[in-house]
Amino acid sequence: MKKMQQGEAVDETARLIEDWTSVHGRTRDRLLPLLHMLQEEIGSVDDAAIPAIAKALNLSRADVHGVVTFYHDFRRAPAGRHVVKLCRAESCQARGGAAMERAAAERLGVAMGETRRDGQVTLEPVYCLGLCAVGPNALVDGRPVARVDAAMLERIAQEIAA
C-alpha cells in the first residue's frame, strides 16, 4: 500500500514537471523556478523527485542534487502544517530576538530548525525579513508579524493549535 502511494507521488511529480516545462521551457536557468513550483505544489523536493527533474532539464542527478541542497529554502521533507519563521539577524537581536527565540521554542514545544513530533508546526530561522525597525519579527504561515512579545507568541501558539 505504502509503496503504491509512493509510486503515485512520483507520477504526480513527473506530471507537474512535464506540464510546467512545456510552458516555461527546459533550459538550465529554469531549474530554480521549477524547484520553487514543486515545493509550492507538493511541499518539498525530496530525493524521489530528483531523477525526473534531471531528465526534464537534461542535467545530471548529481547536478540537481547539488542545487537543491545548496539553497536553504528547498525542503527535503514536508514541513509541519504550520510554519513559523523567526528572524535571528542582528536588528532583531538588538530588540530582544534571542530571548524570544528561546521563548518560542519552549512555548511551541519544538527546537529551532525542527518540526514538532505531531507534525503541527515547524520552527525555522530566517536571516532578515527587512522589517528591521520593528523586530523581533516572524513569518507565520507567510504572514508577517512584527514586535513579537510574550502576548503575541501566545496568540501565534493558539493559532497553531487550532
Binding site: T27, R28, D29, R30, L31, L32, P33, L35, H36, L57, G66, V67, F70, Y71, H72, D73, F74, C87, A89, E90, S91, C92, Q93, A94, R95, V126, Y127, C128, L129, G130, L131, C132, A133, V134, G135, N137, L139, G142, P144, V145, A146, R147
Partner: protein
Amino acid sequence: MTPGQKNKVYVSRDMASVALGADDVARAFEAAGCEVVRTGSRGLFSIEPLVEVESGGARTGFGPVGPDDVAAVLEGSHAARLGDVAALPFFAGQQRFTFARCGIIDPLDPEDYAAHGGWRGLDAARAMAPQAVVDAVKASGLRGRGGAGFPTGIKWQTVLDAPGKPKFIVCNADEGDSGTFADRMLMEGDPFCLIEGMAIAAHAVGAGHGYIYIRSEYPFAIAAMRQAIEISAQRIAPFTLEVRVGAGAYVCGEETALLDSIEGKRGQVRAKPPLPALEGLFGQPTVINNVLSLAAIPFILAQGAEAYAAVGFGRSRGTMPVQLAGNVKHGGLYEIGFGITLGELVNAIGGGTASGRPVRAVQVGGPLGAYFPPSMFDLPFDYEAFAQAGGLIGHAGITVFDDGVDMAHMARFAMEFCAVESCGKCTPCRIGSTRGVEVMDRIIAARDADPAAAEDVGGGLTKALHSRSLARIDNGREAQTALLRDLCDTMKYGSLCALGGFTPYPVLSALDHFPEDFGASAPVKEAAE
C-alpha cells in the same frame, strides 16, 4: 462622515506596515464606507499603521492607529493626529530624490506614477544617444549603492563598449543585510521607478532583456514587481523584464553568485576577472546594479546630473537612503545627501534607543559591517571616511544596540552567520568561519571563567599553531584573541568575496572598540586595518 460623500484614506501596504496590522486597519476603513488607497510606506515605522485622510487636496495623518479607531480618525479627534506627515521633523529634513513618491502614490497605478514625474527620465534618455546617457550617469557621480561604491557610469561604459550581443541588465534585489530594507520599500512602494531605471540602463548599453533577482524572504516585493512589470510592459518595450526569486542563500547578494543562481546553478562566487560587465550572465556583457543604484537613475535623467551631484560629501555624491534599524526609537528610511554624521542619524533623527537605555554600539552596513561606539559618532556618512575608520557604509543600514548588548556574542554571531551562509568555494571563508566560532567560544569561556585562571597564559599562539593535541592548545584569553586576529587576517585577504573578506569587520571592530566584552581590561594596541 457626510452621507453620500466617500472619504478617501491612504493606508500603507508595505510589508512592515502589514506586519504591524495595516491590513486590519484598511479593512476597517473599507467597512466604514471609505475609499481606501493602499500606498507604500512613508518610511517612519513608529507611526505605522499610518492612515492619511484626504480632504480638500491635503492629507492629514494619524498614526499609529488600530482598526477600532476609524470613527475617531474620520472625526479628526483621534489622539494620534499628526497633521501633515511631510512636515514632521523626520520627513522635513530629508532630501528625497529616489523615494520622492514612496508612501504617496498607489504603487501599481501607472497614471499616478506619471502624474508624479514618472517616465520623464526614460523619455529624456530615449531622446539621447546611448553614450550621452552614460555620460550623464558618470557626471552625476552615482556610485553603486549595494555597498561596493563603484562608479555606476564607468560600469555602464564598459558594457556599452563590450562587443558581445545580447547584453543583459540585472538588478540585485537580494537585500540580505540585516538592518536594511530600502530595496524592499522601493519595490513595494514605487516599483515603476526601478523599472524605469532598468529601461534607461537598457537603452544606455544596448540590452534587450533584464532580470530582477529578489530574495524569497520578500513575498510582497515579488508580487508588486511582477504586477508592475506586467502593467508597464508596453511602456518599456522593446525592453523586457522578468523577476527571478532567490531561495534563501545570503551569498547570492554577491553579484557573481547571483548570476550563477539565475543560470540555475548553486549560488557560488565566481573568480574575477572576467568582470560581469564583459562576461556576466550566460557569459554575456551584463550591467548588474543594486535596486537603489538603478532607482536613482530616473531622477538623474529627468532632473539632470548636476541636480544629483549638487548634494553630497567629497567623492560621495547625491543622496543615500539611510535605514535606521534595530533598537532605535524612530526607525525607518531617511534619505539624505552624504555627509550627515552617524550621531545625527542615531540620536537626533532616530531619537536614540527604543528601550530608552543608552546607545552602546551601532553596526553600519549589515552583518559584514563594523560596530562603532558612540565616541565615533562624529563620523560623516561618506564611503571614504567609513573605510578610513575601519568600516563600510554598505547598503546604509544602521543597526542600533543598547547597553544590554554583549559584543563578544555579536562577534561570535558574525562568524556563525558566515559559516551558515558561506558558499563553500574558498577555504578561508568556509573553514575560517567555523574555526572563528570555536575561537570565540573559547574567548567567551575564558572571559566567563575564574579571572585568575583565565590569565594563565604564555606562548599560546605558537603552542596552538604547532599542536595537534586539543589538550595542549592554550585556551587562555590572550592566546585565543591573538589567534582570532590571525584568523581574521587570513579571511580578510584570502577570501574570494566580501562574505569571508568582510566578516572580520564586525569581529575586529567589536574587539577593538569593546575589548572589555572580550575579557580584556584596556583597548588592545594593535589596531584593525
